[in-house]
């Protein structure tokens, strides 16, 4: 980013970001310094990329005109804790409206790729068109500035995401990598391809400890473009730690917000894994396709039970003081730590464990590893497979995919592998398409064409207002369990207020686990000290709100209508009385919620998209 001194520091146009446009069809590269149009451009991430997507009318995600935008946030690559994020944006092959049009999506990930990319001097890469042959892109730096080359990638085809990264690592010093797995290569049969991002830990240990930008099929878009991997090669350019940054990091690491993710040995909550036990207290852990049974088999995946046979090691991302993730290793006969298997977070653990009727840590870990290595989104694949198992249990005489049902590990494993290899397109293209093809949508756990994360839909009507994944773009998934809120007023306030502000992290370059908002005063001070840009907390909050509403407006423009803004009908028609949380999410409640929320949002959405205000009138009625 370049901050001009000859203009007001409050003017977004005084900030320029460096965009690199790579036309994969003709292998041309263009660099330009682009003045920011607004604070969303300055912040970056989806706040900027969605403005470019809004300028294009895309009816099929797999078309040359659909750009893949890879960018960073304002604080990516800085000393502010968790400032590692990189964003992949495009019209999604997976998320789509009932009219069949692809939705604009972004997916975020950590690892060190984002920082390296920024340190090459590039803030944003736009991949246009598609290459006629498989290539990988190398973004490096030289004395003249950033430099790009496209290289043949035939030798990488067929390798897992981890294998691709380790192969490239042998060739490129001081670099980090983004790569797809086999699933992305098989994009025509797999719409849920993820992008794997390398970590320092992975490159040093050789263990497959990638991070993933998983949601929405951005890896499949890379596959369509014949872009197999991206290399970001640069020296490290972390600046000095200013007093303001040090203060912000103290707020992050010692504040209550991040404490829940710290290891139990440090007095923390033990990462997202702790959700298991807390949600089980309400019988609200998704089990057998989001249908808790009220039994104790769920406890098989409690940490203390997994630790009986496997070694659990708590680790952090590069230079992060929040040791949020729990890496699972085999345990050798002598009790020492054995081979690395997988990383346990709540989502993949549940969606490849309890929700598939798998209650054994080793089996869940193996499924997660397979999904990761083949480069698929764990949420989308896990939720789609749970639907398949549910369907087969309901139709023992008319099963699909060899009849696998809950708990059948070997059969489920085969479904994962075959989906990644492109052999099961009905699974690979996601739950909305599969359930509509079957004519049984009631228990398909998706909203707006994107599979639900591991929180029951009957506990979160906010899912309908998420714009890029149920729990990452609308922060209401824990509201009921945490606060017991069931009134319309409370849910309107949450969705139109604090809930949507969650997407601010996906603009500014920070992880959601910082535990403070992107517009927190400590972040405001840190922005000024690291970039020289002066903004207020209010201005940041307003920019986040506009970016969210622009995403919502884009949904409407892509054909999302009233019937898309709902939950799986099983929630209304067959409430699960075993869940002890209040049962308040009726179709009437959701209908009234929509009415109230559109009354607030619709006027604010006018003018956010180019030449498209007419779209808002269509849906809000």
């Amino acid at each position: 980013m370049i901050v001009l001194n000859n203009k007001s520091k409050n003017a977004p146009s005084s900030v320029l970001y460096r965009r690199c446009t790579i036309d994969l069809a003709i292998q041309s590269v263009t660099f330009e310094d682009v003045p920011c149009r607004n604070l969303e451009d300055v912040m970056g991430g989806f706040g900027r990329s969605f403005q470019m997507l809004a300028e294009r009318k895309i009816e099929n995600a797999y078309c040359p005109e659909n750009p893949l935008i890879v960018n960073t946030g304002l604080l990516t690559g800085t000393n502010i804790m968790t400032g590692l994020r990189v964003y992949f944006s495009a019209y999604s092959p997976l998320k789509h409206s009932s009219k069949g049009l692809p939705a604009a999506m972004w997916s975020a990930g950590s690892g060190n790729f984002g920082s390296k990319l920024k340190w090459t001097g590039v803030d944003e890469i736009v991949f246009e068109n598609r290459s006629s042959t498989p290539v990988y892109a190398v973004i490096s730096e030289n004395e003249a500035g950033p430099h790009v080359s496209l290289k043949p990638a035939g030798h990488l085809l067929g390798l897992s995401s981890h294998e691709k990264i380790m192969t490239l690592n042998k060739e490129y010093y001081d670099a980090h990598f983004a790569a797809i797995g086999q699933a992305g290569e098989n994009y025509d049969n797999v719409s849920m391809g993820a992008v794997a991002l390398s970590t320092d830990n992975q490159l040093k240990s050789g263990e497959d400890k990638c991070r993933f930008a998983g949601r929405g099929g951005m890896g499949s878009i890379m596959g369509y473009k014949n872009l197999v991997a991206i290399v970001a090669q640069s020296t490290n350019k972390l600046g000095p730690i200013t007093p303001e940054v040090r203060d912000a990091n103290k707020v992050i690491v010692k504040g209550g917000g991040s404490a829940r993710f710290q290891p139990t040995s440090q007095g923390g909550g033990g990462g997202t894994w702790a959700n298991y036990e807390v949600l089980q207290a309400f019988f609200a852990v998704p089990e057998n396709n989001f249908r808790p049974k009220g039994n104790d088999v769920v406890e098989g995946l409690f940490r203390e039970n997994v630790e009986k046979s496997l070694d659990v090691h708590t680790e952090a991302c590069f230079r992060c003081g929040i040791r949020c993730h729990n890496n699972i290793f085999q345990r050798n006969p002598d009790g020492s730590r054995g081979e690395f298997i997988a990383k346990f977070d709540f989502e993949p653990l549940n969606l490849f464990g309890t929700n598939l009727g798998i209650h054994d840590g080793m089996q869940a870990a193996e499924l997660i590893k397979l999904c990761d290595n083949m480069g698929m989104d764990a949420i989308s694949l896990g939720a789609t497979i749970s639907y398949v198992l549910d369907y087969n249990e309901r139709h023992p005489d008319k099963t699909m995919f060899s009849g696998a049902t809950f708990g059948q590990f070997e059969s489920i494993r085969e479904l994962v592998v075959r989906t990644g290899n492109g052999e099961l397109p009905d699974i690979g293209h996601g739950l909305k398409r599969l359930s509509e093809k079957n004519g049984e949508t009631a228990y398909a756990m998706q909203v707006k064409g994107l599979e639900l994360p591991a929180y029951l839909p009957e506990t979160n009507p906010g899912y309908t207002w998420a714009i890029a994944g149920g729990h990452m773009s609308m922060g209401t998934h824990m509201l009921l369990a945490k606060e017991g809120k069931t009134s319309l007023d409370d849910w309107v306030a949450a969705i139109t207020g604090s809930g949507l502000l969650q997407v601010g992290h996906d603009m500014i370059g920070l992880c959601k686990f910082v535990g403070i908002g992107a517009n927190h005063d400590a972040i405001v001070s840190a922005i000024k000290s690291t970039t020289g840009i002066e903004v207020t907390s209010h201005e940041l909050g307003q920019a986040v709100r506009r970016a969210y509403l622009r995403g919502l407006a884009l949904e409407l423009r892509q054909g999302y209508a009233d019937e898309d803004f709902t939950l799986p009908s099983q929630v209304f028609d067959s409430p699960n009385e075993i869940v002890t949380l209040p049962n308040f999410v009726t179709s009437e409640f959701v209908g009234e919620l929509k009415k109230r929320i559109w009354e607030i949002f619709a006027p604010e959405m006018v003018g956010l998209l180019p030449n498209s205000d007419k779209h808002f009138g269509k849906t809000k009625d």
Binding site: G256, F261, G269, G270, V278, M478, A481, G515
Partner: protein
């Protein structure tokens, strides 16, 4: 009077899973939390007899108090 206290997740590992606690008439949930030594900043969910409650909820003899740490998604 006496109430039953149930702790979950990291609280259970640090203190106990379930215990009966003596308290004075008119005691609030906060008194129980302080008595155990749980930091209010780490407290995520409070239930009294299975219903969400606040730190200022007044307790009665025989109540069941459930305390859970902050949780987060991801």
């Amino acid at each position: 009077m006496q109430v039953k206290v149930k702790l979950f997740a990291s609280f259970r590992l640090k203190w106990f899973k379930e215990a009966d606690k003596e308290c004075l008439q008119g005691a609030e949930v906060l008194d129980i939390v302080k008595g155990i030594g749980i930091s209010v900043n780490e407290l995520g969910i409070v239930l009294v007899n299975g219903c969400h409650a606040s730190l200022n909820t007044v307790l009665h003899d025989g109540d069941v108090v459930s305390l859970m740490p902050l949780i987060g998604g991801g």
